[in-house]
Structures are given as C-alpha cells and as structure tokens.
C-alpha cells in the first residue's frame, strides 16, 4: 500500500427538502491508499451511499455538500470548477458504480448508443458504431461480457448482466479508483459471484488500484477488501484491517452488527446465537446528542450522552469513535 489516492477529511453532507434537513454524512474522515480496497458496511440509511456520492462530487438534486474536503488523486473535488471535475476526475480517475444498476442505463438507448454519447460528452467527438464495437467490445469481453450486448437495449439484458455492463462502462477509461455502491444487493447468488469475480479481475490487472466497496454483505467485503470501515448514523465508528475488525471488533456497534448477522462461521458452532441491537437507528433530522449510538449501547456511560466522541487511532491501524477508547476512559 502506497500513497493515498482518496483523502476525505471531515466531510459533511445534508439532504435538504420538503421533509426538513437530514444529516446524511456528518464529519467523516477516511483515507484510501493505492492498492487498498476499503469495505464500507452499515445498516440501511446510515449514510454509505451518501458518502459515496459526496466523494464523487456528483450529488443530485437533494443532497448538498456542507463542508470538509475530498481529495481524489490530487484534485480537490469541491474546490475545482465543475468542468474540471467532469473532464478530469469523473470516469478518468474515479468511477462510480451506482446501486441500482438496473435503472442506471437509459432504457431507450442501446448500449452502444449510450457509449457513443458518453464518448461524445467526454471528448467532443462522436465515434461510429464500428469504433465503439471494436474498442468498447474488447473491454467488455475482457470482463466476460459478450460483445453483442452492445447492440441490445437494457431491458433485453438480465439483472446481473446490466450490473456488469455498468461496471464495464464505468471502467472504460481505466480509472484508478472505483466506488462501488452495493453491487450485489439486487442480484442472485450466481450473478453475485460473477460480479465479484469481475471486480477482483479489475483489481488484479492493476487498472483499478483502489476501491471503495459499499455493501451489506460482510463475507463479500472480507473477500474483496483489505480495510473495513463501519458506519453508523452518518459517521464512521470503526475502521481497521478487515480480518482484525471482523475477528475482534472493538466498537459496541460493530460487535452488535457482527453478532446479528448469520453467516458461515465454521468455528462458531451451534451454540452461537443471533443477537440483535435493541432500538432503532436514529432519525437523522435530529441525531441524538453526544455519541449517536449511545441510546442503543449496552456499555453507555453518562459521558456518552453528553459529548460526541472524537475519532481516535489506535496502534496506527485501528480508528475508533467511542469514549471507551479515547483518553480519560
């Protein structure tokens, strides 16, 4: 692992709309180094996708960047003009693979027509069908997709294929960083396997150097990533090497999360029980004061309700946001 490719510092982003103001991401700091795959896990609604979108700089109509910095391969995403972001960062250095890939392809355009438009938007020149078929076709086939899908409409492809097509399109310019948002959630098991293989292939070939892999699926994260980041209520609560975090979780939330998941644990035996974390995730329009997890934490102390614990790095590799690990505990 070498120099950092993505540096996120104290990033904040809120959703603003008729429903009020929702704290999507509050004070998140994260570093992704070259060659590092970072898995981002957490409950639904904790802010994983929000963080991903904020990192890319393309936020959509309701999400608003509120503060903090995001450096992507030397580019300060929120300080550079939109044009630079569009031409230099997106697709070229950082590619985003959206969650609902099914709906991410324009339904009335054939894949090759979409690609022709993409190239036109990026380079100003509209390539012919042949050109697209040759160059993009090669790339598609290297990822295991038959060339002929280029001639098809999205609705003629199965769900798994659509997801892999989206991966292929996003990686056409060989971006160094891939932000993958829950790619396996909507797929059946065999499609999941194919997709994970595709992603690993990309990393293995060296074109994609780093990845932010957002998922619910902890076994897959273990397989694909080197670092695991756990998110709760818009903040990172624990970050560390994936095996260490999964084998010896320190944050109460991580512990609760891992013990509430049924997965194949050969050493757990029949005696292991599924425990769930009591209570519900907070309403992000009014996050709880102090530590956001304290209402549901069995180890909460009075201090937890009063002030927010800072991010603390232990032994250079583990980051924790919990009063039990910061000074004066």
């Amino acid at each position: 692992m070498e120099n950092p490719l993505v540096i996120v510092e104290r990033l904040r982003g809120y959703y603003v709309g008729g429903f009020g103001v929702v704290h999507g991401v509050d004070d998140v700091s994260l570093t992704i180094r070259a060659g590092e795959g970072v898995g981002l896990v957490g409950e639904s609604g904790c802010g994983k996708s929000t963080l991903a979108q904020l990192i890319t700089g393309v936020t959509g109509p309701v999400l608003h960047y509120q503060g903090g910095t995001v450096m992507v391969d030397g580019f300060n995403v929120y300080a550079i003009p939109e044009e630079t972001l569009r031409t230099e960062v997106l697709c070229k250095r950082l590619a985003y693979i959206p969650q609902a890939a099914m709906d991410s392809l324009n339904p009335v355009k054939r894949i090759r027509d979409l690609l022709r438009d993409v190239v036109k938007e990026r380079t100003g020149r509209r390539p012919s069908n042949e050109e697209v078929f040759t160059t993009a076709g090669e790339h598609f086939e290297s990822l295991g997709l038959p060339r002929r899908v280029l001639n098809l409409y999205p609705h003629e492809l199965s769900g798994g294929m659509k997801q892999r097509v989206v991966v292929a399109i996003s990686t056409l310019w060989n971006p160094k960083i891939l932000v993958v948002d829950e790619p396996t959630s909507a797929l059946d098991v065999s499609s999941q396997k194919l997709l994970v293989k595709t992603l690993m292939l990309l990393r293995h070939r060296g074109t994609v150097k780093s990845m932010l892999f957002i998922t619910h699926d902890i076994p897959v994260a273990r397989q694909v990533c080197e670092t695991l980041a756990v998110m709760y209520a818009g903040q990172l609560v624990e970050v560390g090497p994936v095996e260490e975090v999964l084998d010896s979780p320190r944050h109460p939330y991580t512990r609760g999360l891992l013990s509430s998941i049924a997965s194949y644990e050969p050493h757990a035996g029949r005696r292991a029980r599924l425990e769930c974390i009591p209570g519900r995730p907070p309403d992000m329009r009014n996050p709880p004061p102090g530590c956001r997890f304290h209402p549901r934490c069995s180890l909460a102390q009075p201090r937890c309700a009063q002030s927010e614990p800072p991010e603390v790095t232990l032994a250079g590799k583990r980051m924790l946001r919990c009063w039990r690990f910061s000074g004066g505990g």
Binding site: T56, C91, D103, S104, E121, R148, N151, H155
Partner: protein
C-alpha cells in the same frame, strides 16, 4: 459490422444477433417467419389492440342501434311530433322541410322504413349492420331527407381541420413549454404549472367566448360567427380561403391554448420525475454535460406523453364540438346541435357514430405509433447470462 438485419427479429428464440452464417439464418428466418410472425411481440401487440378497438366500435354501434329503440314511445313519432301540421312548434323544433300533409306522410314513411320498427329486433339489427357496410346512415330529417352520410362527411372535414392541427401543434408547443418550465427557477416553474392547469381545466368553449369578446368585439380583429363572411360565395379562390382562415382563427386559438395547457401540465411532472431518475444521475457520473442530461430527460419524458394522445383526443373532440357551436363552425358539433334542436335522430346517431369512429381510429393509430417509438414494445426478449 453491418446493422442488424430486421428479419432476425422474427425469431424470438434467437439467442445471438450476429450468427456466423448469414445464409443459413436467412433461410431459417423465412421458414420460421410464417409461424413466428405471430409470436413476434409487436405483431401480438397490433393484433390485441386491433381486436380491442374493434370490440369497442361494435359496442358503440350497438349502443347507437338500441338508443332510439329504448326510448319511451315510437322514435318516429317523437321526431315528427313538433312538426305535425296543426301543432305549435317548439322553439327551433319545426323543420322547414315539413310543409304540407302530403310531404309529412312521405317523410313519415321514409323514416319508418329506416327504423324498420315493424320487423323483429334481430332483423332490425341485421339491417342496421348491412346499411352500415353500405355506408347508409339514413335520411336526415332536418336537411330535407338528404343522406346523413353525406352531410356528416362534410361536417367531419370541418371538424378534422380544427382538431388535427390543434392536436399536433399543441403537442409540440405544450411539451416544450412544460419541459422548459420544469427545469427553470422555482417561481417561474410554479407559475407556468398553475397557469397551464387553469388553461387545461377551463371549458375551452368558455375561453372561446372570452377570446371572442376580446378579439372580435373589443379589438375588432376577428369575426364572430360562421366559416366565411355571409356575402361571399364558397369557392376555391385564395381570397375566399383567406376569409375562411380568418374565421378559423378564433376557434383554433381557443382550442390550441387549452390543449397546450393539457400537455404542459403532463410534461412538467414527467420532466421533474425524469430529471431525478437513476440513469440521469449515472450519466452525470459519467461526465455528461448538463445540456445533454436535459435532452435525455426530455426525450424520455416525452414517451409517456405519447400515450396521452388518446385521452387528449377524446377530451378535445368534446370541447371542439361545443366550440363549433359557439362560433358556428360547420363541423360535427354544429351538426349535432342542429340535430338535437330538430330532434333528427338519424342525423344525431350518424354524427355520434362518425365521432366515435374517428376517436377510436385515432386512438388505434396512436397506439401503433407508440409501439413503434418505444423500444420496449418493439423488442421483447431478454438475453440470458
């Protein structure tokens, strides 16, 4: 590589689109073509819609057959009652065709023959359909027993001349305004939306009266009534046509503005919806310019608008019919009005039949058009893998 040959779509089980041996595939295509033709999704679509509209037409015609026969009393009597010699006529009821007792008897005989009330019901129904296929819609009582079909045919032209341009022009203008408004500033956006809602929901014929008041009376720019100035005789000269166009302007404008409102409201919502869809966000991630994103959204928002043609056509026909009455434009509306005043049932039925056929045919055409435009209907099979 050559574009995909169309006939390959004739094999829904086709897994590959660029099979190696084109010859082999071609032969297989022809053989399978006959049978597979009906399995093709688009053909199936055509057949199902066609049957549906056929059913609707038959239902409509049958209703037209039954209505005068379900009225209390004899329809012929009902028609002739105000015109019987010796009886005072109702306001606008007496037909100028009825003069003397001999004429009266002749008319009565013709009408009774048309309705055929002495025959058993199923035979009447058969005769009804026979006549329809011959294009015979009966005699018009109010028009001195001329064939209804001819009269209605002429009126139909006048109505279509109003309806078709309004439909087409309002579609493009309305969608353009709707799309532009949806992506503008909030204030302008809301103003356009509520304004269009008002124009869409108001009775077009009421707006026509307002236009008439403002532009014909106050500004003196346009005429009040008729399709040509009374002192001119109809002919094909340019000056006469200009005169007709001058009379055409107000009804056209009234219907146009109302219809534009209808399309704008729909497009506004669709555009907002599309701008927030996932594929727009993804394209943004791929580095699209804002301009192209708007084009994408507009194009996709238009698609469901095409399905709105059917509803808009139905509504427009209703509004046009009444606007014609307001302006004295000799279309199906004015004809129907006259038929109602003179209790001329054959004419009324004929007008209704033609109106319904026009609307249903229009709907069918729109369905076909939409089927051609939306690739999801044209192609139907899903790749495996």
């Amino acid at each position: 590589m050559s574009p995909t040959p169309f006939w390959l779509f004739l094999r829904p089980e086709a897994k590959t689109v660029n099979d190696a041996a084109a010859e082999k595939v071609k032969v297989r295509g022809v053989l399978h073509g006959g049978v597979a033709f009906f399995a093709h999704p688009f053909v199936r679509f055509l057949v199902s819609r066609g049957t549906f509209y056929l059913l609707a037409i038959v239902a409509g015609f049958t209703m037209t057959f039954f209505i005068p026969r379900l009225m209390p009393g004899n329809p012929v009597d009902m028609m002739l009652r105000p015109a019987q010699p010796g009886l005072p006529g109702l306001a606008g009821g007496a037909s100028p065709a009825v003069g003397r007792a001999a004429d009266f008897a002749r008319i009565r005989a013709a009408l009774e023959e048309f309705f055929g009330l002495d025959k058993p019901l199923h035979q009447q129904y058969l005769v009804f359909w026979q006549r329809l296929f011959r294009g015979d819609l009966g005699p018009s009582f109010a028009f001195s027993m001329q064939p209804v079909a001819e009269i209605v045919g002429r009126a139909l032209l006048f109505t279509l001349v109003l309806v078709v341009p309004v439909l087409l022009l309002s579609f493009y203008l309305g969608n353009y305004i709707g799309a532009s408004a949806a992506i503008s500033q909030r204030g302008v956006s809301s103003l356009v939306y509520y304004g269009s809602l008002f124009f869409a929901q108001m009775p077009f014929y009421w707006f026509a009266m307002i236009l008439s008041f403002l532009l014909a009376l106050k500004a003196g720019l346009f005429p009040f009534y008729g399709w040509h100035s009374p002192e001119l005789l109809p002919n094909w000269s340019l000056s006469f046509l200009m005169n007709v166009a001058w009379h055409y302007a107000l009804p056209f404008l009234a219907l146009l503005i109302g219809s534009i409102g209808t399309w704008t409201v729909g497009m506004w919502s669709m555009m907002l919806y599309e701008m927030r869809s996932d594929y727009i966000l993804y394209c943004q991630q791929l580095g699209f310019r804002k301009r192209t994103l708007k084009k994408y959204a507009k194009r996709n928002a238009m698609l469901p608008q095409y399905t709105g043609f059917n509803l808009v056509l139905s509504g427009l026909i209703g509004q046009t019919v009444i606007t014609e009455v307001v302006f004295g434009w000799p279309g199906l509306g004015s004809l129907g009005y006259r038929a109602i005043l003179s209790r001329d049932y054959p004419l009324l039925m004929g007008t209704f039949l033609v109106t319904v056929v026009v609307v249903l045919l229009g709907n069918f055409l729109m369905d076909i058009l939409y089927g051609l435009i939306d690739p999801r209907i044209r192609t139907g099979y899903v790749e495996r893998g």
